[in-house]
Structures are given as structure tokens and as C-alpha cells.
Symmetry: C2
Subunit: 327 residues, 2 copies
Amino acid sequence: MTAEHTATLDDVARAAGVSRATASRVVTGQGPASQHSRDRVTAAVAALGYVPDASARALVTRTGTRLAIAVIGHTAAVLDDPYVGRVLTSAAHVAAEREVGVSLHWLPLHDPGSLARLADGRGLGGLVVVNPTRPALDTVPRSLRGRVAAVGVGTRHVPSFDVDNRSGTDGVVRHLVRSGRSRIAMVTGPSWLPCGDRAVEAYRKVLHDSGGEPRVVPGDFTAIRGAKAAIEIMARWPDTDAVFALSDLTALGVLDGLHALGVRVPGDVAVAGFDDITFAGLSRPGLTTSTHPVEEIAAAAARAVLDRRDTSGATFYPSALVVRDSA
Amino acid sequence: MTAEHTATLDDVARAAGVSRATASRVVTGQGPASQHSRDRVTAAVAALGYVPDASARALVTRTGTRLAIAVIGHTAAVLDDPYVGRVLTSAAHVAAEREVGVSLHWLPLHDPGSLARLADGRGLGGLVVVNPTRPALDTVPRSLRGRVAAVGVGTRHVPSFDVDNRSGTDGVVRHLVRSGRSRIAMVTGPSWLPCGDRAVEAYRKVLHDSGGEPRVVPGDFTAIRGAKAAIEIMARWPDTDAVFALSDLTALGVLDGLHALGVRVPGDVAVAGFDDITFAGLSRPGLTTSTHPVEEIAAAAARAVLDRRDTSGATFYPSALVVRDSA
DNA sequence: CCCACACATGGAAGCGCTTCCACCGCAATA
DNA sequence: TATTGCGGTGGAAGCGCTTCCATGTGTGGG
């Protein structure tokens, strides 16, 4: 009851009748230990409510006590993206359970050294790279081996977690086709982001299957770009009857651009986005989109890093169509 | 160049020709030190690029290495509020500079002990309480004295940082009056949140000055509640010609509710919000609102905690009217 | 001229933990 | 029975830092 003095590993060892070394082995799960002492230590841990001191552990294992979230982008403004906010929130939530904190960093797209510099300092326990590029991921120092994960499409070397853009896009574009649209344009993500490629592929495939011709305009996941893209699209292909943007933010911008042009949605042109952000349901017309389990993805990435799990390889999370008014 | 081995305090002491004790005193700024050794150590620190190991320091000072962000609310859903996301992002950014991480926690509104429990564990270097209640703030254990700050209106005991709701509200409501509205309703924040009181006061004052009668409906900062509030308001006071919500999210909901009712905005009813979130500019009609420098406020709170500054007392940040289409 | 007192300083202890290493007893092999 | 091997174990070192304490140094007053 009156804890007052937080239990230390010494207390646990004493209570279990073993040495501190053995207690440590049991608690960390590293090294040999007989079933008998394993049981006794586990019991003592529970009885005393022992929680390892993260600082002490970090000190000796030379492993930081912080999970860094690094976002790659042209400017520091990427940090303000609601998507990043969701990643951060979810990661912070997971980290909190492990008595670990998270910190947020911007990695300039054209400064490959920045990641190495970030990872160089002490105190870094793990790294989650958001929207990584190949070159960036290649500069991760080996001191962080096994403690790096990617949110978005990564490389073979680090576990990566992403939404299934391919089937998500497929679902949305098919929906557009089903509802009678055939001249469908697409606003992509930034060209340097590999995850967009799969989406574009899927879009091309559906269009090919349905006999439409692809109309692709580059985007950057921002709303402003969406508005401009809408204007571009309508100027270039005036008969366009649907626009699919690989980001709700961009789709909202498209809505804006179309509105400025006097084009009715969904009357003249249907609009669909991707991500299902909160505001997709609050825009007028309500945005048809595809879900993006960002929180789940970020939590998985954080856990992979924190647990030093060897989950190399890519994991894709399903995306589901959400039909509202815009398409 | 080839750092390889991160400099330790020992290296600094050796380079400066003093003992580790003296070097520590200079680096931390605690304890006496002659100007001479002060200079030599500072030079050595710069030359070696020394950065104190947060874990080691935390271990001995028995002070955590993590800045906890605690949000009070009925359910854990408060953590998904974009406002919290902005606070977290900004705090994480500030913390990163100090080699510190942040973690996110939900404090059940009716479980006063939860804050104490959170602060009890080791590894907690500081605490920022978002939207604190008096009782919650009173349970902060003394072990955290001087390392707690509030985002929102706090108590006399901890430094608090908030937007100037009073003048912000004043600005918005006055704008409504100026543009010819006189039957203005207000959707407040949660009743247990003291910050809302000042806003309601300001609203009442403007209405009193302009001869209007107050129409207050309780809100909770969510969009759904906004939609319901809109319906409530129009049912209770059908001649209402303006609605002011103390949150953009709620205002967006009001827009939705009004739309469902077939009420035109701003034709029939003007709508104004508070916060100026990203989506305030993307809704249709664009939301008239008042700015809320959340990032600046959160950064100030984080800094106050991290620097153990004795900034007790409340600091209010100015809010500025942003006129768009909705009012 | 000497004592007291401040200030500056270095030695050393120790924060809570992991991990190397030497050691023990026991079964399997020779 | 004498060796080897091996899983289990505790002692002890040490991670990088702060801080207590005893030990110098220099000043002013008696």
C-alpha cells in the first residue's frame, strides 16, 4: 500500500531468494534460468509490483529510452500533416505502456545525412521512419539494427507497415466505374514516395479493364495542391467525370477547386479520396473515400521497434471503401 | 570526424584538465566553479561535441527522461481530438531538442487518482496536463513539484498556458453583431472545463451590451454534439440568426446540423467557430473563426516543464478573428 | 602573524541495471 | 572411477553521471 520506495531488482531478487543476476535474466528473458527460479522471480515481480527502471537499463544496454518518429519531406511543414499527428499519437500511446517516450523529427528530403545524424546521438532507443525513401533507409547506422521500422513502403532490411494502397485504390476506382463514371482522373502522392506507385498501378489496371484511359496528375498530399490539380485536370480533360485523389486532404482541395470552377459534385464530377480522415465525413458533400488504419499501422511499427521483433518484410493493412455523397 | 566513441563527461574533464566533479558542476550549472575552469570546461564541451547522457543523468537524479502529456476527459477518445494531436506534436518537437521523449495518457475525468498513479512510476521527468480540472491538479504528487504545467486554465500552483478565450470570444461575437446579427446562440465546451467560463462570460457581456439575450447550449468540443446542438437551438429559438461554437469541430457539426435542417449558412444563420483548425478553411462555407496558437502554447508548457522554470501563474495567448464565408 | 572562514576542487560512492566470468553439481561419455 | 560437457547460478564490474565529503587554497579580521 504505502509503496513509498519503488521496488528495485534487488528487492525482487531478495524476495525470490535468488541473486540479482538471475532475477535480471528472468525479467529480461535473456539467458538461462531454471523453471523454479523463473517462477519464484515472476511471483516476486508481481507481488512487489516491480517495474524496471528504464533509465538504468538504457544506461547499461547503451540503448536509448526514446522512440524517434522521423518524417521525410521537403519542408518541416510535413510535421503538421494530420496523418503525422495520427501516427505520433498512436505511437506515443504504445510507447507510454513501455515507459518510453517518443520524439518527432523532420528529415529533409534532399539531405540524406540527416537520418544518420539523428540516430547518432545517444538516447535513441528506436526509430520509426514515416514515408521513407530508399536512400534514407540505407543511411540508418548499424547501431540501430533491429530497432527500425517503416510506416509506409520500406526496404527489405526493415519491417514496414502500410495500408494496402493497391486494393484500396482498386476498391475506390471500381466503385467509380460501377456508378457509371468512365473518364476518371487520379491525383497521386509525391513522386518520391514509393507507396504511390502501387496505387497508380491499381488505378491503371482498373481503367484498362474498363476501357478507360488513365489521366494522372501528380500531387503532394496537400489540399492546396488538390485545388490546383482539379483546375489542371478540368483544363486538360474537360470531359472528366470523376477524380480520385490518393489523400483525403487533397480530395478536399479538389472539391474546393471544382467548386471554384462551378463544377457540381457529384452531379458533374464525382470525387473520391483516400484515408477517411475525420473531416471526410464533415465536408460538403461528404467525401467518399477508403479507410486507412493509420493508428493500427503506427502502433504495429512502434511495437515492432520496441519489442525488437524480427518482423522484417512488409505488412499491409486492409483498406475499405466508405461511400458518402461525393461519389 | 570519425566520432565513433561519443564523448563522455570523463573525456570533457580530461580535456579541460579538471576533475569529473568540476566538469559536472559546470555543465549542470549547479555548485561553485571558478571562472577559469568554467571557461576550460565550456571550451572542451564545444570541442568534443559533448552531450550529456540523458539516461545516466536521469538514473542518478532520480528524474525521468520522459515528458508525459495527460489529457483529462470522459473517455479515451479525447486522445483522438485534433487539438490533442497538435499539442502532442508541438511538445514532441520541443522535447526532441532536449533529448527527451513524450508519452500520451488519458486521465478519466472521474478518477482523480489516475494522475497520481501516472506520476508515481519512475521515468517521468515532467507532466503537462491538458484541460486540467482543479481536483486533478491537486493530486499531483510533490515529487513532481516544479515539473508540471497546464495547457488550459490551471491552478495557482502550476504555470498554465492558454489562449485568451475571453478576448477571442469577444472578437467573434462582436463581429457577428457588427454584421447585423442579434439573436446569437453559443455552444460552449464541456461544463467541467474552467476555460469555457471566461468565454461564456465574454459572450454574455457582448450580448448584454448589444441588447441581445443569451442562448447557451452545452457542448463537448465534438462535431456530433455540434450537429445536435444546432437542432436543439433551432427548435428552442427558431429565430436564431447566428451560432457561435467554442470549437471549430463543433462549429463544423453545427454547419452539418443546420444543413440537415435546410437552414442556409450564412444566409439564414451565421456560424462561427473557435480554433482555426486546418479544416476551417476547407469546409463549405469556409468557417469564420478565431485563431488558437495551440502549438505555441504547447511549446511554452513543454519548455516550462523541461526547464523547471518557476513560471507559476497563467499566461494567455492572443486569439485573432479570421473571417471566412460562414459569418 | 595566525586563525577562521569562505570558496574551489578532486576522490569516491552509488543510482539500478545488465553481463562477463568463474564456479558448481550433475548426467553422459570414456 | 576419472573425465568432459553443460545448464544454472552468484559475484563483481561497470555503464555515465551527480553529489557528499574531505581536502586544499586564498582572503579578511583579530
